[in-house]
């Protein structure tokens, strides 16, 4: 009897309990958790595995974002796919339409909660991004004084590098470790895009218009330099290599190429 009364006017607490007693809700929840786990694993394990070695502060921040955003979006993706998977397990077979479902036209609180929660997730992503952008911009100004300056010249279809302070020119990108570097990038013809892959930065090379990027290499090793903007026939072959070296090695390289250490 009392059970019957409850169904007429359930309290919010009882409504919640009833909701979780429903098998479709339980199943959807289970699938939500499974899918969330899939995305968390994807973020934690696969991105670091696929992306090249982290050799600069910018690459580090990029990797943090890929992992972080994947994990943040995991519960949302989990819920979406959880509900969809639940629906698939409940599918109707046959050549006639399924029986009528409940005639629910909307659910105000659900729409509101969905909107607010997705807004919050969106806000987290925005704030995170803004903070990273600001950190990068600030670092660029404070470290500019001590930085190595490299002039990057793109032309169809080669990269070349000038070190104005050291008086060296090269077709390979050589950098000292742990010292900020500023790239002044320019093109002699059409647009190119300067991409030292393992440093995690990129900027277009435009004709008569210098663009600037900044980073700090943090690990010794080889760099692949590529062009990331279709620039004509041999765009695919517009690549060269480079190296992050110890300060001593870098200075040696400068002097053996006729430059002076600065």
């Amino acid at each position: 009897m009392s059970n019957h009364d409850e169904e007429l006017t359930p309290t919010p607490g009882q409504r919640a309990i009833n909701l979780f007693r429903r098998t479709d809700v339980q199943r959807a929840l289970l699938f939500t958790i499974l899918w969330t786990a899939v995305f968390v694993i994807l973020g934690l394990y696969f991105y670091p595995k696929w992306m090249p070695e982290v050799m600069s502060v910018d690459m580090k921040s990029m990797e943090r974002i890929m992992i972080g955003f994947t994990i943040i979006s995991a519960p949302i993706a989990g819920l979406v796919l959880g509900i969809a998977t639940q629906a698939i397990t409940n599918r109707h077979k046959g050549d006639t339409p399924p029986p009528d479902g409940p005639a629910v036209r909307t659910n105000g609180p659900i729409v509101a909660v969905w909107t607010v929660v997705s807004g919050i997730f969106c806000l987290i992503a925005i704030v995170w991004g803004i903070v990273e952008v600001n950190t990068m911009a600030n670092a660029a100004t404070t470290e500019a004084g001590t930085a190595v300056h490299v002039q990057v010249i793109g032309s169809q279809w080669v990269w070349s590098f000038k070190y104005p302070d050291q008086g060296v020119e090269s077709d390979k990108l050589m950098l000292p470790i742990n010292r900020p570097v500023v790239f002044d990038v320019i093109s002699e013809d059409v647009n190119h895009s300067f991409w030292p892959v393992q440093l995690g930065v990129k900027v277009d090379a435009n004709r008569l218009q210098t663009t600037v990027i900044h980073t700090v290499p943090t690990k010794l090793g080889n760099i692949d330099v590529k062009c990331a903007e279709l620039c004509g026939l041999y765009h695919a072959y517009m690549e060269t290599s480079g190296k992050v070296m110890t300060t001593d090695d870098f200075n040696n390289w400068i002097t053996t190429n006729g430059g002076h250490v600065a």
Binding site: M51, P52, D58, M59, M62, I65, M66, F69, A77, V80, I83, A84, A87, I88, N90, R91, H92, P97, P98, P99, D100, G101, P102, A103, V104, R105, T106, N107, V111, T115, A125, W128, G129, I130, E132, V133, V185, V190, N191, S193, W195, V201, K202, V203, D204, N206, R207, Q209, T211, D224, K226, C227, A228, E229, L230, G232, Y234, H235, A236, Y237
Partner: protein
């Protein structure tokens, strides 16, 4: 059964105004006049190989030939007879108007300037399928070439052209893939109209678009489009004569979308059945209308960008030439002010189709019609404020990257509403797993992946790495192909019975579905990995370290190719000899299912009166 299908229900005499010029004109006369115009224009502006200005003269002559071809074709098919007759005070007679509507002309009307919206819808459908087939063939060649490192299969020049031609063919096809066939054939019936608001403009939009197709194809014989679909300057100014085909295609296509957009919006505003208030309009109509309405302000900037590309190439105006004070950034802005809204022009109708399908196949009302409208409107509104996320690393103004990041990431909120509507509709229902419904589930997955990867790309530090890489290519294929195209194919499966009178072959349809969808995941999973590993996009050759990811991609691409061939076979076969469809095979409540096949010339014998929205499914409704 077949007798019923073939019975013609003509009650009035077949119009035959045999003295009128319109009876003599068709696609053939259009081709003849168009070709004459093209040669005449080329001859008038013919370049002189001995002069220094040969390059400019050649561009001028080719552009003139292409644009005059389009005008000549339209004259030759009779597109301007109506306005001309009106101008001289001798408007078309009622009989001539009926003749123009194709009344009683059978298959011939598909090759004429026909004002019946259902004929235009079929013309768009066949045209779109042809474009997708050609674009898909080029994709297969691209992926074959990328199967192994080193680029041995095709040379750099042909490869670059393939990428550009594939891209622009597919983008053009995707812009019209849903609003063309279904917006023309189904939408007027859905709102209870007898035709579009401007039937002659409707025919014009199709035939203008049609003239762009040979122009685009001519690029192959003029050295190709070596710039990718984005046609960035100054590379586009430097490019060879094939570039003129790109410029002319866009100029012509922009006219077609403007005409079509105006026509569709006018129709929906002015021609709805009695009682169809705004909150009773089927959701597909809302989504399609928002899509074409968004294209109206977007396309003129692309047109302007192309006009400037043309004048740079013909008159050395130097809009994009830094040597004389121009800038490639100007082009990039004009392009993306069109380009970003345009991706939502493509997406919205696809999603709206699925929202139309879901209630029918779970027998529940659409969940929160208002959230759907807010989702569409929010996306359309924000989409004009985000274009520079394509230019984060162009260096034009790094300080504005922050604000563009904010607007871009805000789009995920209205996008979330679209998910809520789809999920809310299927929740607690028993989905009937027919082909259209399979499309819905596939799109939920694909759009989710496309959306999440979009959030990475909208983040500036992440885009510093990912821009210009295969990762971007994979992102937009998940949204364009995985979501928008899958949605359109679901729409084809859903409306096939109404458009052809026959059911789409199910076993072939399911097989095609699984081949395309599984192949698609493999194909673009491989491409995400290649991008994360650092492979740039649009490269004919890549290093050995990307070997496996590319091999996976190519394998997936072949599965997709097989799937689409099966789908094409299913469509052609079912169209010719599929099972005869009942009038309302899915038990849906929108108006198009209340009319028989073949749909009578003016759709309804009696104008329908609407008393509720079309989603009254479910217990207690």
């Amino acid at each position: 059964m077949t007798t019923l299908h073939n019975t013609s229900t003509h009650s009035r005499p077949i119009p035959n105004p045999s003295k009128s010029l319109i009876t003599k004109l068709n696609m053939g006369t259009g081709l003849v006049v168009g070709v004459i115009f093209a040669f005449a224009a080329y001859y008038a502006f013919r370049p002189n190989a001995d002069t220094a200005g040969f390059y400019n003269q050649q561009n001028k002559a080719l552009l003139a030939a292409m644009l005059f071809w389009s005008v000549g074709f339209l004259i030759g098919i009779g597109a301007f007879i109506g306005p001309f007759r009106w101008l001289i005070g001798k408007d078309l007679t009622a009989e001539e108007q009926l003749y123009l509507a194709g009344d009683g002309q059978g298959v011939k009307r598909y090759f004429k300037y026909c004002t019946d919206h259902k004929v235009v819808g079929i013309q768009y459908l066949v045209g779109v399928m042809a474009m997708l087939a050609v674009g898909g063939g080029m994709a297969m060649m691209i992926r074959t070439s990328l199967a192994v490192p080193g680029g041995h299969f095709i040379g750099a020049s042909v490869y670059n052209s393939l990428v550009g031609m594939h891209g622009i063919t597919m983008i053009v096809a995707m812009i019209i893939v849903a609003t063309g066939p279904f917006g023309n054939y189904i939408m007027p019936i859905m709102i209870g109209a007898r035709d579009m608001a401007f039937p002659r403009l409707n025919a014009l939009s199709w035939w203008v678009l049609f003239t762009a197709i040979p122009v685009l194809c001519s690029a192959w014989f003029l050295g190709g489009i070596p710039t990718g679909w984005t046609a960035y300057a100054p590379l586009s100014v430097q490019a060879g004569p094939g570039m003129n085909a790109f410029v002319a295609t866009i100029l012509i296509f922009a006219v077609s979308t403007a005409v079509a957009g105006m026509n569709v919006t006018s129709t929906v505003v002015a021609m709805r059945a009695k009682g169809m208030k705004w909150n009773r309009v089927p959701i597909f109509v809302v989504g399609a209308t928002m899509s074409v309405a968004l294209a109206i302000p977007a396309f003129p900037t692309f047109m302007l960008a192309m006009v400037q590309t043309a004048t740079d190439r013909v008159f050395n105006t130097g809009f994009y030439d830094a040597n004389v004070g121009g800038s490639g950034w100007l082009y990039a802005h004009l392009f993306w002010i069109m380009g970003h809204p345009e991706v939502y022009v493509i997406l919205l109708p696809g999603i709206a189709i699925l929202m139309e399908i879901a209630p029918v196949f779970v027998r529940k009302p659409l969940f929160s019609y208002n959230a759907a409208i807010m989702g569409f409107a929010g996306i359309a509104g924000l989409s004009v404020l985000v274009w520079a996320h394509h230019m984060y690393i162009s260096g034009w103004t790094p300080t504005l990257n922050g604000p563009f990041m904010v607007t871009t990431e805000m789009i995920s909120v209205p996008t979330g509403l679209l998910f809520l509507v789809m999920l809310g509709t299927i929740w607690r229902g028993k989905p009937w797993m027919k082909l259209p419904m399979l499309g819905l589930f596939a799109v939920i997955w694909n759009l989710l992946i496309g959306g999440i990867t979009g959030i990475y790309l909208s983040d500036v530090p992440a885009d510093n790495y990912l821009h210009g890489s295969m990762f971007v290519t994979a992102h937009f294929h998940y949204t364009l192909m995985g979501a928008a195209l899958t949605g359109a194919v679901a729409g084809l499966a859903y409306w096939f019975p109404k458009m052809t009178g026959r059911m789409l072959n199910e076993p072939a349809g399911y097989t095609a579905f699984w081949f395309t969808q599984i192949g698609f995941q493999v194909l673009f999973l491989g491409m995400f990995i290649a991008g994360a590993e650092g492979q740039p996009r649009r490269v004919v050759s890549f290093a050995a370290m990307y070997k496996y990811s590319n091999m996976i991609s190519t394998g997936g691409a072949y599965l997709v190719g097989i799937g689409f061939i099966i789908l094409l076979w299913a469509v052609i076969h079912s169209w010719r000899k599929g099972d005869i469809a009942p009038q309302n095979p899915w038990g849906a409540k929108t108006l198009e299912w209340t009319v028989p096949y073949p749909v009578p010339l003016e759709n309804f014998d009696e104008a329908p009166i609407i008393t509720s929205d079309p989603y009254g499914y479910g217990k207690g409704n």
